[in-house]
């Protein structure tokens, strides 16, 4: 009897993978529900900008100057000021967490404002949430400077400032954190599909005994692996398109670089992620362990150490070294550049090269470790 060859076997395997993806609720959850959840969360929910920071305003005596200064704070959308009559009251409010900062003007504020050595204002910040505290501090300083310049100008006085600040924000002029969080999500979502889902479905084949049945067919190990790669590559590409589409269409994130460069780099990253998923499945043959390893070794690092949320340059030197083995790091750098700055080849090329290397390493390990044996 004439027998069909490798192409028939591969087509059968790929078809099987797609049928399983469509029928299995956990695949749907990881491939479609999680990405949409993350997109909505990061698109609408999470913001690293401080807005409407509650601030207590305390003036020990009221004058036109204090009223004018407070009015300028109230006009700013950075603050949600609450006027209070005494420091004691403001102190309680800060301790209870009702305000994040106190702006305190002394009794002699108006009088000292006109003296050569100037008037001090006291700013007390709740340092528990260090990030918001730093932002609140900066905003108050900025607001104070702006008010002072205006105040001096109105009175025809020269404010002696030897250095003039001319500030320009490049690439993300509105300083919207969404603009760099949402593109970074491509890396997270592709890690979910490429590493976590792939490791889980491979482990499931071992657990349910179907792998044993596949191994005794004429299909080679390479064909079995290629079938998986093919199906989950397609699924990962779908996740990428979904994220990019929603980022540009729904969240108004600009895509300044070339879409095709993004596509190529995403494919490289996806190969590396699939390589990690398959490598994990050669180590762990039950779904629980495979899931644990995939989350700890791929998903969490992609979240925390890739520069997706936390800037790598501000991490401690030791941690910075570690980030070099995190595949997502290279891809996050590429995505953020392509979306916000454009095709900056000096960033894209070296990072893409790193992705090629990582993909080769992980796929190489998989190829090397997977034999048509059970032991």
């Amino acid at each position: 009897m004439k027998r069909g060859g490798a192409s028939m076997r591969l087509a059968g395997l790929v078809k099987k993978e797609f049928l399983q993806i469509v029928r299995d609720p956990s695949s749907i959850a990881i491939a479609f529900v999680m990405p949409i959840f993350l997109l909505i969360l990061f698109g609408y929910g999470v913001s690293l900008d401080a807005d409407h920071v509650p601030v207590a305003l305390v003036a020990e005596s009221h004058s036109a100057d204090t009223a004018d200064f407070f009015a300028s704070l109230e006009a700013s959308h950075y603050f949600a000021p609450i006027r209070m009559t005494s420091m004691a009251e403001a102190d309680v409010a800060l301790r209870q967490g009702r305000v994040n900062a106190i702006v305190h003007l002394r009794e002699n504020f108006a009088e000292r404002l006109r003296r050569p050595n100037g008037a001090p204002i006291q700013v007390i910040v709740n340092g528990v949430d260090a990030n918001t505290a730093r932002l609140a501090q900066g905003y108050v300083t900025g607001a104070w400077g702006a008010w002072l310049t205006r105040w001096a100008g109105q009175r025809g006085m020269d404010l002696i400032t030897p250095v003039q600040l001319q500030q320009r924000v490049w690439f993300n002029s509105e300083l919207r954190s969404r603009n760099y969080l949402v593109p970074g999500l491509v890396a997270i979502i592709m890690t979910l599909i490429g590493a976590l889902l792939t490791a889980l479905v491979m482990a499931r084949e071992w657990e349910r005994g179907t792998m044993e049945a596949l191994l005794v067919t004429p299909a080679t190990m390479n064909e079995i692996l290629l079938g998986k790669l093919f199906a989950y590559f397609a699924l990962g590409t779908g996740g990428m398109l979904l994220t990019v589409g929603l980022a540009v269409g729904l969240f108004d994130v600009p895509l300044r670089g070339s879409f095709w460069v993004l596509w190529v780099c995403a494919s490289l990253f996806l190969l590396a992620a699939l390589g990690m998923g398959l490598t994990i499945s050669t180590l762990a043959r039950n779904q629980f362990v495979a899931g644990q390893i995939a989350i700890i070794a791929t998903f969490l690092p992609a979240f925390l150490l890739s520069g997706f949320i936390f800037d790598i340059d501000s991490m401690p030197p030791g941690v910075q070294v570690v980030t070099h083995v995190i595949v997502a790091r290279y891809f996050v750098a590429i995505v953020q550049t392509l979306f916000l700055a454009g095709d900056v080849w000096s960033v894209v090329l070296p990072n893409a090269l790193a992705l090629v290397l990582m993909a080769a390493i992980f796929l190489g390990i998989t190829w090397h470790k997977s034999r048509k044996r059970l032991d």
């Binding site: 009897m1 004439k2 027998r3 069909g4 060859g5 028939m8 076997r9 087509a11 059968g12 395997l13 078809k15 099987k16 049928l19 399983q20 029928r23 299995d24 349910r208 005994g209 179907t210 044993e212 049945a213 596949l214 191994l215 005794v216 067919t217 004429p218 299909a219 080679t220 048509k372 044996r373 059970l374 032991d375």
Partner: protein
């Protein structure tokens, strides 16, 4: 003709958790073409390892295995292209339909598209799956899954078919149907089949058997040759006015006794080759018992071989100490009336009623999914009933579930031991869970270690015990608080026949001491050891009574001495016909 499979001095050891297990040790045998060869042995005998070696999935430490004149280890791809192999769980994708599973395996086996329609037709006809091609494999019953697994293995007719425990967990009707299919494959297509099983009664259906025990070949040849050795050594012993169970206890462990089993209305006695039956009986204090010769079975030969290395023990000698103080009084200890339990719109248990007397061994016999375990969980107060009444030890489970649980010992299918605790720690934990004080605990611990012969294993982790020892420990844990009633859920699945006999010796001793025992099983054989039993299918009881009476239900002119399996199939098929008519 040259053999289709030949193993020479095969050896393979695994290391797991710092322990080395010699799965196979110097195994040699050959399989002749065109017939069914049975690979027979209990769990852990090395059957699956041998199958995997034959399929080129494992590499032996020593020796060689040739399949269809190819070296299975060096030439594994060629071997895999030539043979058909069905692994233990059938290798089906549960989220694919019957048709999609077939298509996948046809693609993998390279069956040309032009030939598929015809082949599928044959396979569906043979397995009776034609009406279900669009159903998901996960939604099939155990028996149908097994047949689909077989069909997938057969999409391209192989010259050699390897079936790894195809009949485990499958109801007796499907088991019979599988054998019909296998026999036809051998006769019509000239296929060679190697089939592994832990059911000793299946050996008699094979043309040849290889008997494996603890990684070694104990015997090989036609099964009739093995039972022929036992001719003149198997007897039915009866004595009016004496309970079979007491006679069995008297015979167990006596010189010249190889095996003594309660078999419905008589005790089945197997004696040593050089013994005389009258002498054996008088030695056991039963000189007046009546004996008649019985035809030997395959299992007799197996037990005889095993007894040469493992002499009969003294299990169950101290069971009186297991009995609690509350074991006085008459009347039924368990009363179940109109019990029902629903899961969604499916009635897992649908109107079950029975009563169990004190000191009785009552069996629930049924295939997987018949509702046995659900009934059990309700009796233990682990699952509330949807309808009906339940009384255990005089207590209504609806109101006093936790008090009732204190009087019940429960041993679950999976033994429920803490694998990372030692034997002694497991025993102490279970006794403290039942509220035993420190002194009582020490006393019970000493009793359990002695009665269950676990003294040498006291400090061993229970995960590292062999299956037979795990079973002993699980039973000891269930008895620590001296329960009046013992529930045993599939207690002997997979353990070897000697461990099973020892286990039943203990059960019998408990019953003699007044403990009421309720046991579920899917082994037809074991049903014979019960005083009374209920046969369950699809959530209902089809028949209740003594084993002998139940067997009589299937008596016909053609089959004057039906087995328990005959009776079971008769009842299940009768029920199915009734439902079809209704």
């Amino acid at each position: 003709m040259s053999p289709v499979l030949e193993a020479r001095n095969l050896a393979l050891a695994f290391t797991a958790g710092g322990r080395t297990i010699q799965a196979l040790d110097g195994v040699s045998f050959a399989i002749e073409p065109g017939r069914v060869t049975g690979l027979i042995g209990p769990d852990g005998a090395g059957k699956t390892t041998l199958m995997r070696l034959a399929a080129g999935l494992l590499v032996p430490n020593a020796g060689s295995i040739h399949v269809l004149d190819l070296d299975a280890t060096l030439d594994s791809l060629a071997v895999q292209a030539a043979l058909g192999y069905m692994p233990q769980r059938f290798g089906l994708y549960e989220d694919l339909t019957v048709q999609e599973n077939l298509d996948l395996y046809a693609d993998l086996q390279g069956v040309p598209r032009s030939q598929r329609a015809e082949r599928y037709g044959e396979l569906m006809h043979m397995t009776g799956l034609a009406p279900f091609t669009r159903r998901l494999a996960g939604r099939l019953s155990g028996g149908m899954k097994q047949k689909l697994g077989l069909a997938c293995t057969l999409v391209r007719a192989p010259r050699l078919l390897l079936l790894d425990e195809p009949t485990v967990g499958v109801d007796p009707v499907s088991r019979r149907e599988l054998w019909v299919i296998v026999d036809r494959l051998v006769q019509k297509e000239g296929m060679s089949v190697l089939l592994s099983t832990a059911y000793l009664d299946e050996a008699e259906r094979c043309a040849a058997v290889v008997l494996l025990h603890e990684g070694r070949v104990l015997d090989q040849g036609p099964p009739t040759a093995m039972s022929a050795r036992m001719v003149g050594r198997t007897w039915a012993v009866t004595r009016p006015g004496q309970r079979n169970r007491d006679m069995q206890a008297a015979l167990d462990g006596q010189p010249g006794v190889v095996d003594a089993l309660v078999q419905g209305e008589h005790v089945r006695l197997v004696i040593a080759a050089d013994s005389d039956v009258a002498q054996v009986l008088s030695h056991a204090g039963l000189p007046q018992a009546q004996v008649r010769p019985l035809p030997p079975r395959f299992e007799d030969g197996f037990i005889d071989l095993l007894r040469r290395s493992v002499p009969a023990g003294s299990a169950g000698r101290n069971m009186d100490a297991a009995v609690g103080a509350g074991n006085a009084g008459d009347g039924p200890v368990i009363r179940v009336d109109g019990l029902r339990r629903r899961f969604g719109d499916f009635w897992a248990v649908d109107g079950v009623s029975f009563q169990v007397q004190r000191g009785e061994i009552f069996g629930l016999l049924g295939a997987n999914g018949a509702g046995k375990s659900t009934t059990f969980r309700m009796l233990c107060g682990l699952l509330p009933a949807s309808a009906g009444s339940l009384q255990v030890a005089g207590l209504d489970l609806r109101h006093a579930a936790s008090t009732a649980r204190g009087r019940i010992g429960y041993m679950s299918q999976k033994f429920s031991l803490y694998g990372n605790l030692s034997v002694a720690q497991n025993l102490v934990f279970f006794s403290s869970a039942y509220g035993l004080g420190r002194r009582a605990q020490q006393e019970r611990l000493a009793w359990a270690l002695a009665e269950f012969e676990l003294t040498a294993q006291t400090d061993q982790l229970s995960a590292d015990l062999s299956l037979g020892y795990k079973q002993r420990l699980a039973m000891a844990c269930a008895l620590m608080h001296r329960p009046e009633i013992l529930f045993l859920d599939e207690p002997t699945s997979g353990v070897d026949p000697l461990a099973r006999r020892e286990f039943w010796q203990r059960i019998n001793a408990l019953a003699r001491a007044g403990v009421t025992v309720l046991v579920t099983t899917h082994f037809m054989e074991e049903a014979e050891y019960c005083d009374r039993l209920a046969i369950m299918a699809a959530g209902r009881i089809l028949a209740t009574g003594e084993p002998g009476a139940i067997k009589l239900l299937a008596r016909t002119a053609a089959n004057p001495e039906p087995s328990m399996e005959d009776a079971f199939i008769h009842l299940v098929e009768g029920n199915a016909n009734k439902e079809k008519a209704a």
